[in-house]
């Protein structure tokens, strides 16, 4: 029997992006069904449609073989569908119990919340599915793995028979992933259907019964796990035999461009986020900072680009300490920045591609004279960049909002790499975009290096790091725990350092500065 089914579903978003084209998908009762595909392939959209968060432009949804009208998640929940989102849907200041019971609050007398009943209901249910939860702790104080369990519990307690998980493992450490998989297996044995989206093919092979592969908004096919090898899955995802065509000659590092000495940063709440960081970025090299998300990379990048203040230590550019300088001062020194958030920070969605491309040099020749702003030369310049970075866009005056993720990122990259930077700080430069655009951007970063600029690549994507970095620093809990030359390294090698199970001798690391 089919638990949930999408028939001929098409979804067009208001900005004109077609996320799903005539998609057919079904999951059987009690199976673990993986949905894989590149970024932008339409997986998340399909899941949102199954959960009633988005309405399909056309097509039909069936739940337990009955046609379903899903106007909101409320309808989906009533029909036994639950979803755990990639970004948790929790109220930070609420306790675990309040988060779980929100919307189905038990009452005493006519008006009041019954906190005792809350506790009772949850602990009863938790026992049944073998869960442990700190019921009266505030969610904001919990580690990620526990938050995820709260999310799963939220769905189960509402009677979910179909559980959709959007990239559940992306925020977890390997140990937590294993724990999660135990839970999922256990649930599927109790007859609950699990659908999960992922990028990580080893996980798919490890746990899925069946696999659906999506590409460019379409379903390529659904297969039994045994039918495919990992490399076959990749081929189907990308639509061709794909191998990154990136070759890297050995770097020729030159003079130091950016020297960081004893950088310390305490967050507003007193947490010690960056601990005594020291490193040197030289011209003609790509220095990568690898690590799991949330180990201080975000703060490091913000401090180095002037977006965050109150750090101590030194940041030397051209021999001068510029720690604490404002973004415009750092840009003048030739430091450019590809941010990890292209929508909130990296662009103005409601301005044209052309106007987005000159935001860091609008006041210079030839775009402005002393006062007057020259539209024509802006457009001309944009035309050139669109060609050079092969951005798919109708015209330079198209709004950035209308672009796909990959093309939007290329607009940001085009701007940041073309103002003759000395140092490029790239934070997750290919996060969440299609493979072709990723490859293009990585090549451009290599080209920057070969031109004698320095690139500081901050990335959680190990494949990317191993592909283009010359040296790698591993950041763990705000500390540099390893300094590695990128020669014959594997993801597993890095993994040990990223998880904190292994670290280099502090004495050796101290010599980093003199490298």
């Amino acid at each position: 029997m089919k638990a949930i089914e999408a028939i001929n579903v098409t979804k067009v978003y208001p900005n004109g992006v077609v996320a799903n084209r005539n998609v057919n998908f079904s999951a059987a009762v009690g199976e673990i069904h993986a949905v894989v595909g590149e970024n932008g392939a339409g997986k998340t959209t399909l899941m949102k449609i199954l959960f009633g968060m988005e309405k399909p432009t056309s097509g039909e949804i069936r739940i337990f073989e009955k046609p379903a009208q899903l106007n909101s998640p409320h309808d989906a929940i009533a029909l036994g569908v639950g979803m755990v989102h990639q970004h948790f849907m929790l109220v930070p200041s609420f306790t675990v119990a309040e988060n779980i019971m929100l919307g189905i609050e038990p009452k005493k007398n006519l008006f009041s919340l019954d906190f005792k009943r809350m506790e009772q209901i949850i602990s009863e249910y938790a026992k049944k599915v073998n869960f442990e939860l700190p019921i009266w702790e505030k969610v904001m104080d919990l580690p990620v793995g526990v938050k995820q369990r709260v999310e799963i519990m939220k769905a189960l307690i509402r009677g979910a028979k179909v559980l959709i998980l959007d990239e559940p493992s992306s925020v977890l450490t390997p140990q937590e992933v294993n724990e999660l998989f135990v839970v999922l297996k256990n649930l599927s044995q109790q007859g609950i259907t699990i659908i999960f989206i992922t990028h990580k093919l080893n996980e798919v092979k490890q746990i899925a019964d069946r696999i659906t592969i999506m590409r460019e908004g379409r379903v390529v096919g659904t297969y039994r796990n045994e039918e495919l090898t990992e490399s076959q899955i990749v081929e189907l995802m990308i639509g061709r035999k794909f191998e990154y065509d990136i070759s890297r000659v050995k770097a020729v590092p030159g003079e130091p461009l950016l020297v960081v000495k004893n950088l310390n940063y305490f967050r507003e709440d007193g947490a010690h986020i960056l601990k005594n960081l020291s490193f040197v970025l030289r011209s003609g090299e790509i220095l990568a900072i690898a690590g799991l998300e949330g180990n201080g990379q975000k703060e490091l990048v913000e401090i180095l680009t002037g977006l965050r203040e109150n750090a101590s230590g030194e940041m030397l550019v051209g021999g001068k300490n510029v720690l604490g300088a404002k973004p415009w001062q750092l840009r003048q020194l030739g430091i450019s920045h590809i941010p990890d958030d292209r929508i909130e920070v990296g662009s103005a969605l409601d301005m044209s591609v052309a106007e987005n491309m000159i935001s860091d040099r609008y006041d210079q020749q030839p775009f402005s004279g002393r006062v007057v702003y020259r539209k024509r030369s802006v457009i001309e310049f944009a035309r050139r960049l669109i060609k050079e970075f092969s951005i798919r866009v109708k015209s330079p005056t198209t709004l950035v909002r209308m672009l796909s993720g990959g093309n939007m990122q290329k607009v940001v990259v085009a701007r940041e790499l073309t103002n003759e930077p000395k140092v490029v700080i790239a934070n997750q430069p290919t996060h969440g975009i299609d493979v072709a655009s990723s490859e293009f951007i990585r090549k451009k970063l290599l080209q920057m290096r070969d031109e004698g600029r320095g690139v500081l690549l901050v990335s959680t994507d190990l494949q990317e790091v191993l592909q283009i970095a010359d040296r790698i620093l591993v950041l763990y809990k705000g500390e540099i725990v390893a300094h590695l030359q990128n020669e014959n390294l594997t993801e597993t090698d890095l993994g040990f350092y990223m998880l904190g199970t292994k670290r280099q001798n502090p004495e050796e690391l101290k010599e980093l500065l003199t490298l």
Binding site: M89, V91, F94, G103, F111, S112, E302, N310
Partner: protein, 308 residues
Amino acid sequence: MSNFFQNFIDPAFWYSVLRVSTPLLFAVMAALVSSISGSINIGIEGMMLMAAFWGNVVGAFVKNPWIGLVAGVASAMAMSLLLAFSHLKLRVNLVIAGVALNLFGSGFTVFMLFALTGEKGTSASLGSQPIPRLDIPLLRDIPFLGKVLNNHNALTYLALISIFLVDYLIRKTPLGMRMRAVGENPDAATSVGVSVLRVKYLSLLLSGVFAGFAGAFLSMGYVSWFARDMTSGRGFIALAAQALGGNSAILGALGALLFGIAEATGFTLQSLRIPSEITNMIPFILTLVVLIIYARTRVRSHSRIQKI
């Protein structure tokens, strides 16, 4: 000068603090119940005006203050529905919608006042039906406090009670919990099937109820006529007072009392021959000060880009 300081130990002064605080208390509750679910209600001013107008006019026509009160509150609720509909259904920016609502309230009441009375200033010619004062036997006999607390307009007592009602609503009831959830993370509410739209509608409607009481008090208690733009900024002052108190009804009420004290002090100064234009400025200047204090006490983020 000694006159001025003696004032603060005079029960009459504190009596008048409670009196002038009444509309602010209601208005702060109006601001709170909407802000708690994430919508800042700029339109309180317009809702109050509407309620002041209809409360007084209907009360005068039917010769019953209570029916007038009901009409006033209903008119403010209608305004809040208009605001909610514009913002939630038509997706008008909430601030702009609030400003439009205030303009509407101001224009509409003057237009109708003229149509009904042929005057543009006040509705005094219609006669008045004020909400009665309550003389409470036991309270009356307590020294000092009796003089402060007794013999107020019925709505003043309602205002004091509503502080605790709102406090209870927010902290102890399912609706309050949902309102807080919607305000803090609407996606979380949606993900468990709580309709953000419905909660926001309810919050704004409730906000309209309190704004209605605030307005009705002005024309049926504070004075006994309607005057054009008689709310004179109280709806905005309430926003500042509420911000001061954060998500707490009790602290918000203390904020309202602070403004009440400022206003009452203004009256005292007037009796000392300081021009009314100057003393009337006190609440507005205090609001500016409160805004600064509020902004300064918020946690200072290190993220420059978040602070922009």
